[in-house]
């Protein structure tokens, strides 16, 4: 099939960026979107041009590395599908695909379709864990969890941290992601002891990152490849209000977002260089 890929090209953070159109004459309908970019990149390399940078790892929809906008929809038009799992047969012959990166202040541009999503890591580090004693493994079934509860926790835990929810949100809010990371722990008895501090800390970090405020619009759920439901946002709000009310925790502190890249070297290397 024939496709025109209109792709956002940006050499680095200091570059303003622009769209470049690439005509592809022989796209295999069974290829994934990422494989289509691979094919394009090979032809670009052969022509001596810079290949399109995009993130990927598992290519089976579970790692959360991949993701970009296709025609205004995060991960493209197919519901519950990451771009690595999206096959080209879902597009019409001769279609133009507008491909651009997630756009949010909390996701600074790195290069082409790659954005810096470390803000998500910092939100998780602020409280997305439970404390367990080390030593012997605990007895199985020592803590009883009902099927309904475990299902809801598992549904929230399905979040792969791709960032499509932020990309889809008109407010660039990360409420769905943060909600999922809070809910999958707070729904379970194992997450109960740290419940009051968790939401306070994670919400504080989320705000420190410069994400927008949630207005319960629901675009995030529609774009989410794991179909995380809006209920997780309510769970976050409930835990946040409960935690604020109880004021159980000591001071809530946030970490200052780091936007530079560590090169791991004492040599003077430009931290913005990407290759």
């Amino acid at each position: 099939m024939k496709l025109t890929l209109k792709i956002w090209r940006q050499t680095g953070r200091k570059d303003k960026g622009r769209f470049v159109s690439y005509a592809m004459d022989d796209v295999n309908a069974e290829m994934s979107m990422l494989e289509c970019l691979d094919v394009l990149n090979e032809s670009l390399i052969e022509r001596g041009e810079e290949p399109v940078a995009f993130e990927h790892d598992c290519r089976e929809g579970i790692c959360g590395s991949c993701g970009f906008m296709i025609n205004g929809i995060p991960h493209g038009p197919l519901p519950a599908t990451t771009v690595c799992q999206l096959t080209m047969r879902h597009f019409k012959d001769g279609e133009e695909l507008v491909i651009e990166p997630w756009r949010a202040a909390a996701f600074p541009a790195v290069k082409d379709l790659v954005v810096d999503r470390r803000s998500f890591d910092r939100i998780i580090a602020a409280g997305g864990y439970i404390s367990v004693s080390t030593g012997n493994a605990p007895d199985g079934n020592a803590i009883l969890v009902s099927k309904d509860t475990s299902d809801r926790a598992m549904d929230a835990a399905a979040c792969i941290g791709c960032g499509a929810c932020v990309a889809a949100c008109p407010n660039a809010s990360s409420a769905l992601f943060t909600g999922a990371k809070i809910a999958h722990l707070s729904i379970l008895p194992q997450g109960a002891p740290e419940r009051d501090g968790r939401a306070l800390n994670m919400v504080a970090q989320m705000n420190a990152e410069g994400f927008g405020g949630c207005t319960n619009i629901g675009e995030c759920t529609g774009a989410c490849p794991k179909e995380i439901q809006l209920e997780v946002i309510a769970t976050m709000n409930r835990d946040f209000i409960r935690g604020s009310w109880k004021r159980r925790d000591q001071e809530v502190r946030t970490v200052k977002p780091m936007t530079e890249w560590s090169t791991g070297s004492k040599l003077k290397i430009d931290p913005h260089a990407t290759s």
Partner: protein, 230 residues
């Protein structure tokens, strides 16, 4: 290249409840709920226009004889409006900052029209409320006929006989309906009350309540314009 370093351990004190987006939304939900209750009470009072001048004027008088209670209620409402709007403005500014570079193409795939237009319906309702207060509460601006202090029935009927006043009223009430169609559901979500089983019920209830409120309010100017109430 190491990507393991994610944060500078230069810790900062976190902002408090009001300083966070979630806290602001909780405040919006509570103030919105109070305003919503007022909107219902106000409707119940207004519908007495269909029972004739005596009844409505007596109701107006009753409100004014509440005396000590009238101003506390007004102050609570004013406080709610102020907080609601302050949060609106701050979240709107944050929204602008949170996406400095926009998309060249963006499709809405899962949201309702009313939810996407909250930042339009709210301010227009505000403009309407100011007009409405000048028009029927203070009588400062009352085209068509003289404003008579205390004769609520006369003020309402002669006010709505001016066609553009009625049209503006109907338009604003429909926007209020849109605002509530999303808001009634959204405030539960903001306060953390949500469950897969309750959400669909809540959403359809919000629809029904919003439509009822709109129909109730616009029945008054429509009846006046049709000459049913005169």
């Amino acid at each position: 290249m190491s990507t393991s370093a994610v944060g500078v351990r230069e810790e900062e004190r976190a902002p408090g409840f009001w300083g966070s987006t979630n806290g602001k939304k909780a405040v919006m939900a509570v103030t919105g709920a109070i305003l919503f209750i007022f909107v219902i009470g106000h409707l119940a009072g207004n519908l007495q226009v269909f029972e004739g001048p005596a009844k409505l004027n007596a109701y107006g008088k009753l409100l004014h004889t509440l005396g000590e209670l009238l101003w506390p209620v007004r102050i609570v409402l004013l406080l709610c409006v102020t907080l609601h709007i302050t949060a609106t403005v701050q979240l709107a500014l944050l929204k602008k900052r949170a996406r400095p570079v926009g998309y060249s193409a963006k499709k809405a795939i899962a949201s309702s029209y009313s939810s996407r237009t909250m930042y339009w319906s709210g301010p227009i309702v505000l403009a309407f409320v100011i007009f409405h207060l000048l028009h029927l509460t203070a009588g400062y601006y009352h085209p068509g006929a003289a404003f008579i202090e205390g004769d609520v029935y006369h003020n309402v009927v002669s006010g709505f006989q001016v066609w553009w006043v009625s049209v503006w009223y109907i338009f604003s009430v429909i926007l209020l309906g849109l605002h509530l169609r999303h808001g009634i559901w959204s405030m539960f979500q903001s306060l953390g009350m949500n469950h897969p089983r309750h959400t669909p019920i809540l959403k359809s209830t919000a629809w029904v309540v919003a439509v009822t409120i709109v129909l109730g309010y616009i029945s008054i100017p429509i009846s006046v314009m049709l000459g049913v109430v005169k």
